[in-house]
């Protein structure tokens, strides 16, 4: 037996003559009984197949047992996209038999490319090709393997060159076998899909793990600031990240960002950006310098499509200054101790990794003790988005303005509102990084 389930065999054609009820001489009781027994065993044989190739092999030997004069048997299977036949099923005799059927049906041109959608209307019904029409070649049957209206494949059987044509009862029996094949094929394909899904799930778990490892668990209190961070991954793990590094007494630098794309590639890119950020932040660079360097390194090292939106904020509670640089990210909000909220640091440049020499601007504002800075990813804003409040900025300002001056409570209220909007499967991660300037050094001195 060949690997594709095709084979050559020579059996005498007298056996053929005994086959269908319309053919004289009629079947002997013995051969009819053994034929029935053979037919009864076919479902079990076919469903024992471990994979499609195995199924082709079982089909081949079953058909050969029932029609001993069969010269070639082929099981063409459609590819997953339904555009053509799988390579291993179309090679050798399968393709040849299909061409023959198509040439008899005058659809040879489309058959030359074996495009399933074009062949489908012609081959969705069984086709009988008589032997006399092609000298030296046997009769051929093409039986569709169908699930509802989808053509899953074709069972092609060729008899010996001088054999009599296949008959309608032959066709009926072959259609019965084709129906069995369809069931087994569907089951095998469902198993493959399940395996692929498991692989995707593993991929997702890996992405979550990478992300979890790289998102810092920030201390709630560092020199001069109270800090609270929240991260809620979406089903499709994205590449949100945040970090806050203390760079001296009452000074800190924070970043929040969102890597475009999902899954492991986004998580890996995110891990690199957060690693680079720590290094640059500790070197004492300004937000503008940090983002400029991150941009350069991402541009050089990542693919053309990759980009990262990010905002970097440095807070100096001792000198009362805040610096913001924004690379295509949603702007942070600043709430003062009277509850006024303003948006700070609108994007001055494109996301990181897009343009080689992007020139980022930097906003500078005064920072008062008691000021609270809220940084977020657009998942938060989008979740609060309504028709009347494009991008949900009004809702967010309102929440921030009326919340007590407690960074943890502010985050909880925002997440509570987001979750109560009833969005069950968020497309995006939600990340919040909230910082309050408490200025220990200055307070201690005062």
């Amino acid at each position: 037996m060949s690997r594709s389930g095709l084979g050559d065999m020579s059996q005498n054609r007298t056996t053929l003559k005994g086959n269908g009820p319309r053919r004289p001489p009629p079947l002997s009781v013995h051969s009819a009984a053994s034929r029935l027994a053979l037919l009864a065993r076919i479902p079990a044989r076919l469903s024992a197949a471990r994979d499609e190739r195995d199924l082709a092999g079982e089909t081949f030997s079953s058909v050969r047992a029932l029609w001993p004069h069969a010269r070639r048997v082929a099981l063409l299977r459609s590819n997953q996209a339904g555009t053509g036949f799988t390579k291993d099923s179309a090679q050798d005799g399968g393709q040849d038999l299909l061409r023959r059927v198509c040439s008899e049906m005058r659809i040879l041109r489309s058959a030359s490319r074996l495009q399933l959608p074009e062949l489908m209307p012609h081959l969705i019904m069984p086709v009988l090709v008589g032997s006399e029409r092609t000298p030296g070649r046997g009769p051929v049957v093409s039986v569709p393997i169908v699930h509802r209206t989808t053509l899953l494949g074709l069972l092609l059987v060729e008899g010996q060159p001088e054999a009599e044509d296949f008959t309608v009862p032959d066709l009926d029996e072959m259609s019965g076998i084709a129906a069995q094949i369809a069931l087994v094929l569907l089951r095998l394909r469902a198993e493959v899909t399940a395996t692929q899904r498991q692989r995707l799930d593993r991929d997702l778990d890996l992405a979550r793990e990478i992300q979890r490892r790289f998102l810092p668990s920030l201390a709630s209190q560092i020199s001069g600031f109270r800090v609270a961070a929240e991260y809620r991954p979406a089903y499709h793990v994205g590449g949100d990240f945040y970090d806050l590094v203390s760079v001296g007494e009452d000074r800190a630098i924070a970043v929040i960002g969102d890597v475009a794309g999902k899954g492991v590639p986004a998580a890996l890119l995110m891990s690199r950006v957060s690693h680079d950020f720590r290094r640059l932040a500790r070197a004492g660079l300004s937000p503008r310098e940090v983002l400029t360097q991150l941009n350069a390194s991402l541009f050089e090292q990542s693919t053309d499509e990759a980009f990262v939106t990010a905002v970097c904020v440095s807070l100096d509670a001792a000198r009362g200054r805040i610096e913001v640089c924004n690379a295509g990210h949603v702007a942070p909000l600043l709430r003062n101790e009277w509850g006024h909220v303003l948006s700070i640091g609108e994007a001055t440049g494109t996301p990181l990794g897009m343009l080689r020499n992007e020139n980022y601007g930097q906003d500078e504002l005064p920072l008062q003790l008691g000021d609270i800075v809220l940084m977020m990813t657009d998942g938060v804003v989008e979740a609060l988005d309504t028709d009347v409040d494009r991008l949900g900025s009004r809702a967010l300002r309102e929440l921030l303005s009326t919340a007590p001056a407690d960074v943890g409570e502010i985050n909880r209220r925002i997440l509570g509102t987001v979750e109560s909007t009833g969005v069950q499967t968020r497309p995006d991660d939600l990340t919040l990084l909230t910082v309050e300037a408490v200025g220990q050094a200055r307070r201690a001195a005062a």
Partner: protein
């Protein structure tokens, strides 16, 4: 839905309708590779009928922009509106691409 390509003289106009998500982004990537390989580097993206773009779509456009610049060609975006325009503004891409009505 999807992409339509119109070649007129030196200019190739690619019409992107409906949604530019990961599926269409793949097509756009393949098409831009073909265009640049065959020396067609003056490209107009007609986005008048584009209603939605996601990060994969943005990525594909940026990739196209970078490759066109590498080939010393030109890329113009025409008719950008609605959510895609808002997205371009948020990402500050309106400064990078040359936009036309």
């Amino acid at each position: 839905m999807g992409l339509r390509r119109i070649d007129a003289g030196e200019i190739t106009t690619v019409q992107v309708d409906g949604t530019l998500d990961i599926t269409v982004a793949d097509e756009l990537r393949a098409l831009s590779r073909d265009l640049l390989a065959s020396g067609r580097t003056t490209i107009v993206l007609d986005l008048g009928q584009l209603r939605l773009i996601d990060s994969a779509g943005i990525g594909a456009m940026v990739a196209l922009y970078k490759r066109v610049v590498d080939h010393k060609g030109s890329l113009k975006l025409k008719g950008l509106c609605d959510q895609p325009l808002a997205m371009f503004k948020v990402l500050r891409l309106d400064r990078v691409f040359s936009l036309a009505k």
